[in-house]
Amino acid sequence: MAETLLDIAMMHSDNLIARAREGDKNAQGRLVQLWYKRIYNFSFKFFFDHDLAMEVSQKTFISMHKNIAALQEISRFKSWLYTIAVNYCREETRKKKSNRSYSLSELNPGEAEESYRWEESLHRNENPERQLRHTELSDLLQQCLMQLGQEQREVVIMKEYEGLKFREIAEALNISENTVKSRMYYGLDALKKIFEQKNITQESIGYGI
C-alpha cells in the first residue's frame, strides 16, 4: 500500500502525542485530524455501516481526549487508540443485537451512484463505469468480510487494512501474539472459502475491472 503524506505524518507523530499527553489541545486536535480517517475506516469495515462508523469514531476521539494523559508509553499510542475503537465497536455490536434495527444502507446496499459512497469517493473523477465496478467489488468483498466471526474480522481488518504488526494487534486486543496469528490464519482461510463459493478470484476481478 502506497504511503501518503498522512501516513508518514502518523508514523512520525511521537512529538505530537507527547504534547497531547501534556494537555496541548492543539496537538490533540492535530491527532484527531491525522487518525480520524483510519479509525472511521476501521469501524466502517467492522460494521459496513456509515452511521455506526461515525458514532464509534466520535466516541473514540472523545475518549482519547479525556484519557490521553494516562497513556504511559508514546510508542503504544496506535494500539491504545485501536483498543478504544475496538471496545466501542464491540459495545455498538451489543447494542445493535439488542435493538435489532437496520440502517438504510444495510437494507439497500449497492445503490452506488445514488449513495453517499459515490459522493465521498476519492476516485470519483475516474471513469464512472470503472468507478461503479470498483465500488460494487468493494461492497462485495466487504460483505464477504462481514461473514467472518467478530474476532477474526477484528484481526483481519487491523492487519490487512490498518497495517498493524501482530504485536500491536495483540496489545490492542489484549491477547497473545500467537492467538492473533492463529485468528489471522483461520480468518484468511475462511475468506478463501467464501471467495471460492462466490467465484471471486484475482483473475476474475482483474477481468471485471
Binding site: 466520535q58 465500488t135 496469528k181 482461510d189
Partner: protein
C-alpha cells in the same frame, strides 16, 4: 523429529515478520513440502483480493480548542469567590445600617435584633380554669345587661299603657260628670225614636217586597193555569177529533156491511 511449522509461523512468514533464521528454516520446509507452500500461496492470493476493498473518504470533525489562560480574570474562580464574599459583606453592612442592628448577650442568651428593642412580653398562659372563669364572667355580665334592658323596657311599656288608659278613663269620667238628667233622657228618647224608625223602615221595606213577591207568584200561577187549560183543551179537541174519525170509519164499515147483507140474498135466489 520432523519440523512442522504451525499457523503462527506461517502467518509471520506471510506478513514478513520472521527473523532470517526462522525464514530460512521455513523455506527449507517448503522445498520438501510444496503442497504447504501452495496452501500459503492461496492465502496470499486471498490477501491480494482483499486489497480491493477501498478506504472511504471522511472529513474529520472540527476540533474546538480552548487555550488555557484565555479565561478572563474576572471569570476566574478566585476572583468570583472574592467578589461574592465582598458583595455579601456589603449587603450585610447596608442592611445593618438601614435596620439598626442590636446584639445583646445576657444570661447565656445571644440576641440579634433590628430596629427597636423588642419589649419582653410575659408569656400569657391560659389554663382551663382561667378560660372557664372568663366565660362565666362574660356570661354573668351579659345576663346582667339583658336583665337591665328587659326591666327598663317593661317599665316603659307599663308606663305607656297606664298613661293611655288613664287618659281614656279621664275623658269618659269628664264627659259623664258633665252630662245632666234631661240630656240623658233626651239621648235615650233619641235613641228609641231612631230605633223605631229603623224597625218601621225595615218592616215597610219587607212588606213591599213580600207584596211584590206574592203578586209575581200569583201572576205566575195564573199563567200556569191558563197554559194548563189551553193544553187540556187541545188534548180534548184532539181526542174528540179522534172519536169523530173512528165514528166515521165505523159508520162506513157498517154501511159496507149492510150493503153486503142486502145484496147477498138476491144472489142466492138465482
Amino acid at each position: 523429529m520432523e519440523y512442522k511449522p504451525d499457523e503462527s509461523m506461517l502467518m509471520a512468514y506471510l506478513y514478513g515478520e520472521l527473523n532470517e533464521t526462522e525464514k530460512q528454516k521455513l523455506e527449507n520446509y517448503f522445498e520438501l513440502h510444496p503442497e504447504e507452500l501452495a496452501k500459503l500461496k492461496s492465502l496470499s492470493d486471498t490477501r491480494r483480493v482483499l486489497l480491493h476493498v477501498r478506504d472511504k473518504e471522511v472529513i474529520a470533525p472540527p476540533v474546538f480548542v480552548d487555550e488555557p489562560g484565555t479565561v478572563p480574570l474576572w471569570r476566574s474562580s478566585y476572583v468570583r469567590f472574592a467578589v461574592g464574599m465582598a458583595a455579601s459583606i456589603l449587603f450585610v453592612l447596608v442592611a445593618g445600617k438601614l435596620l439598626g442592628p442590636e446584639i445583646n448577650y445576657s444570661q447565656g442568651e445571644l440576641r440579634i435584633s433590628f430596629g427597636k428593642k423588642p419589649e419582653t412580653v410575659q408569656p400569657n398562659k391560659l389554663t382551663e380554669q382561667k378560660v372557664n372563669e372568663l366565660i362565666e364572667a362574660s356570661l354573668a355580665k351579659n345576663n346582667e345587661q339583658q336583665a337591665t334592658v328587659r326591666t327598663e323596657e317593661q317599665k316603659k311599656w307599663m308606663q305607656s299603657v297606664t298613661d293611655f288608659n288613664s287618659k281614656k278613663i279621664n275623658a269618659l269620667a269628664i264627659t259623664a260628670s258633665q252630662a245632666s238628667k234631661d240630656q240623658v233622657q233626651a239621648f235615650v228618647s233619641g235613641l228609641q225614636q231612631e230605633n223605631l224608625k229603623l224597625i218601621k223602615d225595615y218592616l215597610q221595606l219587607s212588606s213591599a217586597d213580600q207584596k211584590n213577591y206574592m203578586e209575581n207568584l200569583l201572576a205566575d200561577f195564573s199563567g200556569y193555569l191558563q197554559e194548563q187549560r189551553k193544553q187540556d183543551l187541545q188534548f180534548v179537541q184532539a181526542k174528540m177529533n179522534y172519536l169523530e174519525k173512528d165514528n166515521n170509519q165505523f159508520k162506513q164499515e157498517t154501511e159496507q156491511l149492510l150493503t153486503g147483507l142486502i145484496s147477498k140474498p138476491v144472489k142466492n135466489n138465482y
